[in-house]
Point group: none
């Protein structure tokens, strides 16, 4: 909550987000994510469905002991009681009380078709289930949110019944009724009209919420539209995780509310984000990425505000002006959400963007038009031949070093290399790969053979083994990503192959590119560039 | 255009979409994507910036000869003339005319700050540049779209000047003025207000357009809001490709317009989608995925409408009800956009589409639930391990044959294979590749060695040479396409490699897939599948 007007930022990453295809969160994963959400400054963390999902029962048990949340309150998710019973006798409802979560969020039906066809009961009994369950939880001292499922579709089918479900929940003591676009098919205008109707029906005081899914690509906009029409409780998930197309991306929602609508919503009531060590928006990018490390779902580069590409500029058209006046080309200052502007080097790029990129890498080329011209020409030439530097900063930097210092650092001289891949059997047998590298470094001639599960892997091992004798600093380098692309594929295997690799030394990661008539020549170039860049960065002199 | 009210679906995948980080489209890529866009039924395809980007100049040259578009018109993108010159003397403008594109889209400034700080000219001269350039192009017989850049930001800064830019473009003869949210920071309500203002200023007739970026996560909603406020021209890109967070996803925009707002916008004026072989929405998912194969950018599973997860339901709360009444749990029928509902923990998944695909290949599986079940299981299993049959019909057919006939055709038995790639020298020297294959066919044991410019090429030669002695029918087979994809790239070279190859015998072309721990094992599987399918198709019996 912020100030005198309560506003709830309600995160459901751990419950509805976990419905995403391919996501499988353990109890420890959830216990690791919750403090990050708290640090961001959300007001509520929905942890799961205790009673229905054994893992979630355990989560609430451990959370009570292990979590020390500074701002957020934990919410347990569950359903209204079964038809034809009493809430006090319903074990599922009992488990919600037993979870000891201070907030309980109940899913309830508000679409008469769902009541009759899925729940197989009457509209009247469904309303009684809401009343009975909410009243019990309120008596037990819980704050209650009622998620009215399929609300917007239900409203379009029978507005009278949908409204009745909302009014019933408030009358029974619910603090919030959250209108859910469960199937995700709404557009903002539809949301605006329906929220305005409900707002008129319940009056100005009760807290209405919005829970949107992204099936029409409008979840963030639908959430904003609902807030503009009178909702003061937004549900969503970090990175937009969720079933099908996902839930509303809570990060984009919150950034839009704070930065575009001037409405501070993160952080504690007594001081907003920043108070009590809460991070707020400036920590958003870091927290988004940290959570994706835990969910093990690759971050989406184009994700609004926090994506790796969100403030990356490629257009040559704009590059010269960006240098003069970056604010003209970004909708916000990326630092406001903890992200960074990046310039991408590409064949559309002119001298201006190369100068900027150089500056980013620590080379001031502003007074050296000759070098700038040569680098620009070489980049254009190389990109015409299949290279791409926008995802290979380290290769670009070596090219820059070569033009600035007159030569490429000479850590070793290659004599020859060879790879062999052999499979001795039919279907089902595995092949073995081996590579031999001959090179000179540190005054000696080195012959090294490496094995691997494929020829590139073997080549990487052979090269590393050869070099590590002279450059022990290389010991910690490790290949972490490898991408292949066949360019101009119409010529079949005569096509040119481009390889991008990413290497880490445990701390820093860097990317290099290689191009050649086949995978191995391209990989060799990227592997050697990677070793050279890594050694140079550590300040190791050629031996 | 559709019916009497013109409505433009304007695709800029090949121009603005190509600004995406990591995307680098060759001329052949563009020539392969354009027919897919045409098949979808877009009205306009913006091909690039001839004159400024050499690749794009070549694209328009080749497009004029090689493309046979049934519905879409090609548009060339460019800029208004430079300050202080005449449009007729501007080489960039001349290149637009020379491209022979029937539609020319000019980017023009409408934000006075950009005019003064980036263009470094006066507001007046900028308007003169618009007039002069549009008039010249109209005299040359082109239909002109003016993209007013940074329009929404500009309008907020100085609405009078922003309006003047729009009016000037229409007065000079522009058919469309497209309002661009270049920095992507708008929310739908802002867009609605500004479009309504401009609509009032220009009157009801002139065609206004909308070009949105997704920096606030609202590009699709902003586009829809603009249409509702009076725009009749929407720009966007397939899969939402584009710089930073991308452009408005044209697929979601079009699906929302057709399915949510009841406004048919795809296809020709004389009959909408379906006319003249146009696919429309039911082909959308296939086309989206085909384009992502060409751009080599992994499809985003959560993408609205076309994503692999877009209609995937996790077993749980809804599972049993979904089976009874799927319409209650999906915002649209997935078949309307060529997608499929999937139950993530269920054996129902895929059977229908596999039965359909089987029928397409001449196998009637409707009365054979046992075979259908086994094929479905094998496909699911294989796809979980990295195979994809969508672009490899021949491999799928071999799998089907194996289950229907009880075994895979045995044209040969492999004993072993080996590839060697060797480079005897430093930078600049070329490697040589050689492969040896040992197999039995026609009662003999055959050892064959092939050379090539890379190991796959050499392996292909060795296999073909070995088999052609027993199966001379193979003589005409030729590899025409070869694609590599590293899956699960976080494990570096330990990742799984998928290879797709296309082979022709001069008449028919067929595609096969292979997956393995490295390039060579994956390629070997695809190469052998290709030989087997080709021989079987010709009716050649195993010898």
């Amino acid at each position: 909550m912020t100030g005198s007007t309560p506003f709830h930022v309600y995160d459901t990453t751990l419950r509805d987000g976990a419905q995403q295809e391919g996501m499988n969160l353990s109890v420890s994963d959830k216990l690791a994510i919750a403090p990050l959400l708290d640090e961001l400054g959300v007001g509520y963390i929905e942890g799961g469905w205790p009673g229905a999902v054994p893992k979630d029962t355990e989560f609430f048990k451990r959370a009570a002991k292990e979590l020390d949340l500074r701002n957020a309150e934990l919410a347990a998710f569950g359903a209204t009681r079964k038809p034809g019973t009493r809430a006090v006798d319903d074990t599922q409802v009992r488990a919600l009380i037993d979870s000891e979560a201070p907030v309980v969020t109940l899913v309830a039906k508000s679409d008469l078709r769902h009541v009759e066809r899925a729940l197989r009961t009457t509209g009247e009994e469904n309303l009684a289930m809401i009343t009975d369950t909410v009243e019990l939880l309120v008596r037990e001292g819980r704050r209650v949110v009622v998620d009215v499922e399929h609300f917007f579709d239900g409203f379009r089918f029978d507005p009278r019944y949908a409204r009745a479900a909302v009014l019933t929940a408030f009358e029974a003591g619910a603090e919030v009724v959250c209108l859910c676009d469960t199937n995700g098919g709404m557009l903002p205008r539809f949301v605006t009209g329906i929220v305005q109707d409900v707002r008129a029906a319940v009056g100005p005081v009760p807290i209405l919420g919005i829970h949107a899914h992204n099936d029409s690509g409008c979840a963030v906009a639908n959430t904003i539209a609902a807030v503009e029409a009178g909702c003061a409780h937004v549900q969503g998930t970090v990175n937009g995780y969720g079933e099908r197309t996902g839930n509303a991306d809570l990060l984009a929602v919150v950034a839009n509310l704070e930065l575009k609508l001037g409405r501070p919503v993160l952080g504690a009531a007594d001081g907003g984000a920043g108070a009590g060590g809460l991070g707020g928006l400036p920590e958003m990018t870091r927290i988004a990425h940290a959570i994706s490390e835990i969910t093990n779902i690759s971050p989406f580069a184009r994700q609004p505000y926090v994506g790796a590409s969100a403030f990356a500029h490629k257009a040559g058209l704009h590059a010269s002006a960006i240098r003069v006046d970056p604010d003209l080309y970004q909708h916000i200052d990326p630092l406001e959400v903890g992200n960074d502007m990046r310039m991408l080097v590409s064949d559309m790029a002119g001298r201006a963007s190369i100068e900027l990129k150089g500056r980013e890498l620590g080379f001031d080329l502003s007074g050296r038009p000759d070098v700038l011209g040569r680098v620009t020409d070489r980049v254009k030439d190389a990109e015409a031949n299949g290279y791409t530097y926008e995802a290979a900063d380290a290769s670009f930097e070596l090219l820059l070093v070569e033009e600035v210092e007159g030569r490429r650092p000479q850590y070793f001289t290659v004599e020859s290399w060879r790879t062999i891949v052999e499979r001795s059997g039919g279907r089902g047998t595995l092949a073995v790969a081996e590579a031999t590298v001959k090179l000179s470094a540190g005054g000696e001639r080195i012959v090294s053979t490496g094995e691997g599960n494929g020829p590139v892997n073997a080549l990487d091992h052979a090269l590393r083994q050869a070099l590590v004798r002279v450059y022990p600093e290389l010991e910690t380098f490790e290949l972490i990503d490898f991408k292949v692309r066949i360019l101009d594929a119409m010529h079949g295997t005569d096509a040119v192959t481009r390889v991008l690799i990413e290497t880490t030394d445990g701390g820093t990661a860097w990317s290099t590119v290689g191009v050649g008539p086949n995978l191995l020549e391209a990989s060799w170039e990227a592997l050697t560039d990677s070793a050279i860049w890594g050694l140079r960065r550590l300040g190791v002199p050629p031996r």
